[in-house]
Symmetry: C2
Subunit: 495 residues, 2 copies
């Protein structure tokens, strides 16, 4: 069928064509189905998802998103040929997985390629995620998923990369900048790409953005790493295993996180940054992602088996995830914690320092920078001598930050409220998820100074009217909203 182009100037994130209801009926196309479009009389084809409109269009018009206009180099009123597109093969593969079958590499590769090319709709990706979630994936399938994700993306062109990663879920757990600063001081190459917060109060990229620029091209990252051995940047725009980002977007709709996808997500990014050594932190605890030590061990074994498959030197370390780490939760508050540890401030959070040292020690030993049993001493020496602090400032400078302005960037939120103990008691529990929920209610991660400062940890004894936490927010409304939520869900349990 031949139609005339109506340009929408809409970046829909994927090719979308809006057809008149009668036109769609003639093509026997329903909303969400696909059509094939080419410029009349001859051009390449593009597959587009159909929306159906009454009124805004004439029957002989198709309103096209910019993705289509640009790809086919179309102008307003150009003629295009549209036809119902055949079903994608990947849809049949997804259907097989829903029916409980095991997929081979060719099929998984087909699904991932179609996800990366925007050929699959969110609903179709949701079917894939559901199938993985309920039916699970074999280790072989997971390996093929990882391989397909890496091959459908870009790679970082840096050698001998050392990486660390936490599976997440622990509020305030900002060890990465400290570990990278300690380890890269010894000459290790650590181009660390991190994510922004998805469900937490802050990701490492959000925290670093308080202090310096975090968005760079792969070429710029190469230059920064050449200068300083390390970087602490946002990995989101580098095109590393991009299927992962699209799948996560669909998972987020319903807070689903299938284990196979969690593992594939992490390992595909590590392979895409060309990592040779990886230390993987798996915190466990009631409100962590791994809710028991057994869960954490099982997950660690899966990571180790898969890493072997790809020849990746990966060590897992199970850590205490029973409560938040550090004092601050929120981008600015966590940046303060990091700097206070690195600058050896007296009021630095010692739990954060200890965890960063322990993990650094393992990295130094696994890469041969320290002999077995001597990693912790080396890490301490680098931290105490402020070599790590110097390295951190180097990284900030190399990323276009300015260490002279740091104080201005660590400014407090406009409003705050102190929560106090109602009686003499002990801190029994601090729930990671609830703390994150309150911090987000206060404005995290978008409002960088927002968040929570904790005065206590598990086991602390408190007297009546002792401070438990301060909530910070940029507006009174957000402060009230967060404080009300705190009182309602009670993240700090006293007894």
């Amino acid at each position: 069928m031949i139609l005339k182009v109506k340009s929408l100037k809409l970046l829909a994130g994927r090719p979308v064509a809006i057809l008149h209801a009668n036109t769609a009926k003639k093509l026997a196309i329903y909303p969400g189905e696909r059509i094939s479009i080419k410029k009349h009389p001859k051009s390449q084809k593009i597959i587009a998802i159909v929306d159906i409109a009454k009124g805004m269009l004439k029957e002989n018009e198709a309103a096209l998103s910019s993705e289509i206009i640009n790809y086919l180099k179309l102008k307003e009123r150009d003629k295009i040929e549209v036809s119902a597109a055949p079903k994608l093969l990947s849809i049949y593969y997804i259907l097989e997985k829903l029916k409980g079958k095991t997929l081979d590499y060719q099929k998984i590769y087909g699904i991932i390629t179609d996800i990366v090319n925007n050929a699959l709709t969110e609903a179709e990706i949701a079917y894939f995620v559901s199938a993985i979630f309920i039916n699970g994936m074999t280790i072989d399938e997971t390996a093929m998923l990882i391989k397909a994700m890496v091959e459908n993306g870009k790679k970082l062109d840096i050698k001998n990369v050392v990486d660390k990663h936490s599976i997440g879920g622990i509020a305030g757990n900002r060890t990465t900048p400290i570990i990278v600063s300690i380890c890269s001081s010894t000459g290790l190459v650590m181009p660390k790409t991190s994510s922004r917060a998805i469900t937490s109060a802050a990701g490492t990229a959000d925290v670093m953005e308080v202090l310096t620029k975090v968005e760079f091209t792969s070429e710029e990252i190469k230059k920064i790493v050449k200068k300083t051995n390390a970087c602490l940047v946002w990995g989101g725009a580098l095109g590393l295993a991009p299927a992962d980002d699209k799948i996560i977007q669909v998972e987020r709709l319903i807070s689903l996180d299938p284990e196979a996808q969690l593992i594939a997500s992490i390992l595909s990014k590590k392979l895409a940054v060309n990592a040779k050594y990886v230390l993987l932190d798996i915190p466990y605890g009631k409100s962590a992602k791994a809710s028991s030590k057994e869960d954490a061990i099982r997950l660690a074994r899966k990571f180790e088996n898969l890493a072997k498959f790809f020849g990746l030197k990966l060590k897992t370390v199970l850590t205490d995830g029973s409560e938040p780490i550090g004092n601050g939760i929120g981008p600015v508050l966590e940046a303060r914690d990091v700097i206070s540890v690195l600058s050896r401030s007296k009021d630095r959070p010692l739990d954060l320092e200890k965890k960063a040292l322990d993990l650094s020690a393992i990295i130094l030993e696994m890469t041969g920078k320290a002999k077995k049993g001597e990693g912790l001493n080396l890490a301490k020496k680098i931290l105490d001598s402020k070599l790590a602090y110097k390295k951190f400032m180097e990284i900030i400078n190399a990323q276009n930050g300015s260490i002279k302005n740091l104080k201005n960037r660590l400014i407090s939120a406009k409003f705050n409220f102190k929560l106090k103990a109602k009686k003499n008691s002990s801190v029994m529990d601090i729930d990671n998820k609830k703390i994150a929920a309150v911090a987000r209610a206060a404005g995290c991660p978008a409002d960088k100074p927002a968040g929570i400062y904790l005065y206590v940890h598990r086991g602390f004894k408190v007297k009546k009217d002792d401070n438990l936490a301060t909530v910070y927010a940029e507006t009174k409304e957000k402060l009230n909203f967060a404080v009300d939520l705190f009182k309602k869900i009670n993240p700090i349990v006293l007894k």
Copy 2:
């Protein structure tokens, strides 16, 4: 956050708001997530799905679909307040079902209400469908699903309704117009609402549309039924159990048809048309929906149990679904078959006639119009005396058709091609799905005269060069496409 309205004049089928990328970032909203919108300073709220654009909008603007503009009575440049919307409760219920839990009525009702109100995205509905497909539903859950679907829709206000339904999947199986004509001749009230083709060559509504109008309001249907005891209309726009239509739309993306949803879909529509008696035809066979007799029996028991729950007098009948029924496949070709049976033409398809008579007999007996064992004789009498033909013409007239024009409406397709036997042989098998695929390739259901005419049925002996089938199409391209497909997938197996 306060933004200015930019009107899109886009009927997106649901409330959609397009935000500037930076605005979305400030709200910590990702594409596909929801915002709450109200007119500033005060109005009702509406929940909208967010698309994110760069370029077409300023940061302080929001482009809104007509659904939002109309609901909040907005004008271009009006001020609106937007905020991140809390997650819908129904999403947690869907998550529970994905995790294998059983849902109660309140939760199922919540999901169905949000589907009907367009509050759930297609991806979220896909999660629900996947969960039902893989984890199944208990009989209680299915009953609650049916109840929720009926209560979230409109009802037909007609009493003592008799209905028949086939679960579908058999090409050419157009018994409904014949059965309705026979049974309503005895005074039975049969306001038959049918669907259009989804994956088949024609639905009963597509076939009736060849002969008369099929789209009416509930009030108009009431008038038609008052006049003639019956109607044969399209049920799609009546708002009967509308959740079903949206769920089917999402299932269609991936050709999924979970059993619980199939049952709920049929029974909810029957309850919504206020049916008192229902005859349910369950064809079984290799290429039918129920692939074996055991499957058909199991499915029949489920329908019967659920019907009891709702006090519905339902009878199931298992029929031969091993091959297409009648000669024609496609709207016009099936309409011809129906008229040739009703008008007692010599070349009428006797398999279609026999099935229509058998089913009519059961309806006449279950409603007390005939004594046990005498239904078939009564049905035959009504058919042979052309009383049923007269009734069918009455219905066509009442639905604004004209029996004088029938010949013009039953016109042949512009192009055709005869497929012939290559040697002396027997017809071993005729595959329903493959026949439907060829008919659709030829242009069905949009091109009404397109389709396939079958000269043979299973067990027929054929000589070399005997006709097997004629393929009809409105363009040469479609004819060649369909004939090529026929030769490739070979729906008629000879031996």
